[in-house]
């Protein structure tokens, strides 16, 4: 009972600290990639409010809390310098930067870098996470609260290709995925101290997916869903206790999406799962090989599921039935140059539009109506691999070298 009171209090506190317009973690507060903001620009070239330089490299997405934008980066020949930067969302002014020395292995595939996982916030604190499995926690003014080195603690926890899974704040627990071939686990940390609440052994498999939160009727009923090549495990975030399992293999790169209590899982193409009561395995609503995602995760908005495949084709299907509604190739002509692009970035959506960024650095705005019309595009001219953020009627996106705000 006491813990329920604490949880309720924490939930209320988090609610107070995180406003509805915040984007506090990978794909937003609900891991959906969808924002309720209605005023996000539907053209980009004429709506770039500001851009700022960033140090080193970074694939992580920006996050937004109140009027602050947080971004991670990594630099140095060995990618062993970790950066956490804070900017004013209104002006782009850098408010502070803190750097750390990596304590874990920094080796990555050349396409990746140490700053690949997206940071997270509980509204009071910001948590940076890196491929080296270093976790840093600062308050929103840049004051260090604590640091953990998960590879420092568990020396075989690493992947020679790099780690990309992002943090997740669920209830009063910070979920830290450290899943790999050698020493694989996910940990639940106390956000205030960084101390383990629990540490769960996970399949010894490569895993670059991020956990998602499955909202319950109350905060206390929320579950965190961990995805891997062995399937799904839903856990209670405070204790790490297993709530249910789904043992069909899922993909190791794109992450599941949630909407309306249904999970859309990159498995057998795409599988829609409806969790059952009482710890029973979830019910399969449908499976569709035609909707199999490549690197970007699927997105669900307005009763439709969207997916970008390896050829850069955006598919839209009915989220209840999987019936394919339309497909459109995400390509743009710039003079003699055609940007078909390969997509690493997961698309985000707001106001009936989907925003997709290909690796060429081309943004495409797709009106998600009857046909999937590309209504605007913009060439940023730099490789973009991150998943953007939407907050306060604006879009935030970064390359290695720059962070842009699109909006007022």
């Amino acid at each position: 009972m006491k813990r329920h009171v604490v949880l309720l209090s924490f939930g209320l506190l988090t609610f107070c600290f995180l406003t509805g317009a915040d984007w506090p973690q990978f794909r937003g507060a609900d891991s959906s990639g969808v924002s309720a903001d209605a005023g996000v620009p539907t053209t980009i070239s004429d709506n770039i409010a500001w851009s700022v330089d960033l140090p080193g490299r970074g694939l992580s997405g920006p996050i937004v809390v109140g009027d602050k934008v947080f971004v991670t980066a990594s630099s140095g020949y060995q990618q062993d310098r970790l950066h956490l930067l804070c900017f004013s969302s209104k002006t782009g002014k850098q408010l502070w930067e803190r750097q750390f020395w990596a304590t874990g292995r920094t080796l990555c595939h050349p396409k990746m870098c140490n700053a690949t996982p997206t940071p997270a916030s509980d509204g009071q604190r910001v948590f940076g996470f890196f491929s080296s499995n270093d976790v840093v926690c600062l308050d929103l003014d840049g004051n260090l609260q604590w640091m953990r080195g998960m590879t420092h603690d568990y020396p075989n926890a690493s992947n020679s290709l790099g780690m990309s899974s992002s943090l997740l704040v669920a209830g009063e627990t910070l979920i830290v995925p450290v899943e790999n071939l050698s020493e694989s686990f996910t940990a639940g940390l106390d956000p205030a101290t960084g101390i383990n609440r629990w540490k769960l052994d996970r399949p010894l498999l490569d895993n670059w997916t991020s956990p998602v939160v499955l909202r319950g009727k109350s905060t206390d009923d929320d579950l965190v869903v961990l995805q891997s090549g062995k399937g799904l495990t839903a856990i209670k975030p405070y204790t790490g206790f297993e709530a249910w399992r789904y043992d069909e293999p899922a993909q190791s790169i794109p992450s599941s999406a949630t909407s309306g209590g249904v999970l859309y899982v990159p498995a057998k193409g795409l599988t829609a799962l409806e969790p059952a009561a009482g710890g029973a395995p979830p019910r399969v609503l449908w499976q569709s090989n035609r909707l199999g995602p490549a690197t970007p995760s699927p997105l669900v908005d307005g009763g439709r599921v969207y997916n970008i495949n390896g050829s850069g084709v955006l598919a839209c299907a009915d989220a209840k039935t999987s019936q394919l509604l339309w497909q459109t190739r995400l390509q743009v002509q710039f003079g003699d140059k055609t940007s078909r692009g390969v997509f690493t970035s997961t698309p985000v959506a707001a106001g009936g539009h989907l925003y997709a960024f290909n690796e060429d650095g081309v943004a495409l705005v797709v009106k998600t109506g009857a046909t999937g019309e590309i209504v605007a595009n913009h060439d940023f001219g730099e490789t973009i691999l991150c998943t953007p953020a939407i907050a306060n009627d604006a879009l935030f996106v970064r390359s290695d070298k720059h962070l842009w705000k699109i909006g007022k």
């Binding site: 140095g76 020949y77 502070w96 930067e97 803190r98 750097q99 750390f100 020395w101 304590t103 292995r105 080796l107 595939h109 840093v136 600062l138 840049g142 004051n143 260090l144 609260q145 604590w146 640091m147 953990r148 080195g149 420092h152 603690d153 020396p155 075989n156 992947n159 020679s160 290709l161 790999n180 071939l181 050698s182 940390l189 101290t193 960084g194 101390i195 383990n196 010894l204 490569d206």
Partner: protein, 414 residues
């Protein structure tokens, strides 16, 4: 122990008259409030540092360190050298707490229009008794307030214990050499000068990209570079294989070479054949020992490789391994590390391990396991191994042979 930022004194009330006291209090209270709001209470750097340096694995000590950090972050700019010095010998987590305090104090000072103690910071940069990373941090602080500092400092850092300071120094020499050699018709004197500069750069270079760039320029003017010696790759090994690694079980199985290393012994191999130790010397510039090429493309197989390393004295070193296979490493019979990961790439310095050489003969044993994957990208069964110090400077066996001349002088496979 030194107190700093001593808070407002409480014994400044004088006089015995009540009204005098009251008037004094009325005046002093706002002043005290203002002082507490703008200055820190008494903070003891040594105590705060001690608490921060006590952070351990799994977040032990985090709660206490957070409190100490807040106190430390209230220090003034003049305290920066002392806090930087606290990084000496700190564990990597504690060093980061200290780093963050330094950054916070420095930013607060500069934002308020204050000054950093540039002379003391510069002195810290040059004092190689301090932690190299902290010295680099000090250098970067100094550069913020003195943009000319790099020109003064970096040229003196070519053999510095800080890999980052050293890297900057090498980059400057490379730039100089590139300018000297930019003219296609450069005279011999220019080449000689460039050679001298490049040789100095090579002595300092520890990062592979810089070593490659230097090697290319040196070879362009006719000077060979012995890369294996520069990096400290071990080239001559004895190995025995294949033992069984079906279903990736072999890493955990202690085959006879792990129990007793006898290079004259014969063993039962994975396929029932008798196998014995064979000598192999690689002539690869990066010391790559290609087991699949030397022994055959066995799948589900374990190989052991051993070599002797003669050290003049007892010495802490780093062993740096690259391999796409699962592995274990022993030094003088003691297991140093083991890792199970197959075909996730191979890179120079992929794995770094600390070890302690003893004076005289040291025996290194490496176990390299190949799995049964059939994909083209999963066929490599190889490793590279070097001995160096923490900076990456090669530590060479006193009986190291000169680099072999191609073709590889191999005595054959099993």
């Amino acid at each position: 122990m030194r107190l700093l930022n001593a808070g407002p004194q409480t014994d400044i009330l004088i006089g015995n008259d009540f009204m005098h006291r009251l008037i004094g209090l009325l005046g002093i209270v706002p002043a005290m409030v203002a002082m507490y709001a703008t200055t820190s209470p008494a903070a003891d750097i040594a105590t705060a540092v001690r608490v921060i340096r006590a952070v351990e694995n799994e977040g032990r000590g985090n709660k206490e360190a957070a409190v100490a950090w807040r106190e430390l972050a209230k220090c003034q700019a003049n305290d920066l050298p002392e806090i930087l010095a606290a990084c000496d010998g700190a564990n990597p987590l504690a060093a980061n707490y200290l780093r963050s305090a330094v950054e916070t104090i420095a930013q607060r000072t500069l934002d308020a229009g204050g000054a950093l103690p540039a002379a003391d910071i510069e002195k810290f940069v040059f004092d190689t008794n301090h932690e190299p990373k902290a010295r680099r941090l000090a250098f970067e602080l100094l550069t913020k307030v003195d943009p000319r500092a790099p020109d003064r400092i970096i040229p003196r850092m070519i053999n510095d214990p800080s890999v980052e300071l050293r890297r900057d120094a090498v980059a400057r020499l490379l730039e100089t050499a590139t300018k000297l050699l930019a003219d296609d018709k450069v005279e011999q004197a220019g080449k000689d000068e460039a050679r001298q500069v490049l040789t100095q750069a090579l002595d300092g270079a520890r990062d592979d990209d810089q070593v490659q760039a230097i090697k290319k320029q040196l070879e362009g003017i006719g000077q060979k570079v012995d890369l294996p010696s520069h990096f400290g790759f071990l080239l001559t090994w004895r190995f025995v294989a294949p033992f069984d690694n079906t279903d990736k079980k072999g890493l955990a199985i202690p085959y006879p070479p792990e129990k007793q290393l006898d290079v004259a012994a014969q063993y039962d191999g994975k396929e029932g054949q008798k196998i014995g130790w064979v000598e192999h010397t690689t002539n690869d510039d990066y010391g790559v020992v290609d087991l699949a090429k030397a022994l055959g493309p066995f799948k589900g197989a374990v190989a052991y490789a051993t070599t002797e390393f003669q050290s003049e004295k007892a010495l802490p070193v780093e062993f740096r391994l690259g391999t796409p296979n699962s592995w274990k490493v022993w030094l003088n019979g003691d297991l140093i590390f083991a890792r199970e990961e197959y075909h996730r790439g191979m890179n120079i310095d992929q794995y770094r391990m600390k070890g302690n050489l003893k004076a005289g003969k040291n025996v290194i044993l490496v176990k390299i396991c190949q799995n049964e994957q059939t994909e083209d990208w999963a066929q490599r069964w190889q490793f590279q191994f070097r001995v160096c110090d923490a900076v990456g400077t090669a530590v060479l066996s006193v009986d190291r042979a000169a680099k072999p001349v191609k073709p590889a002088a191999s005595s054959g496979g099993a």
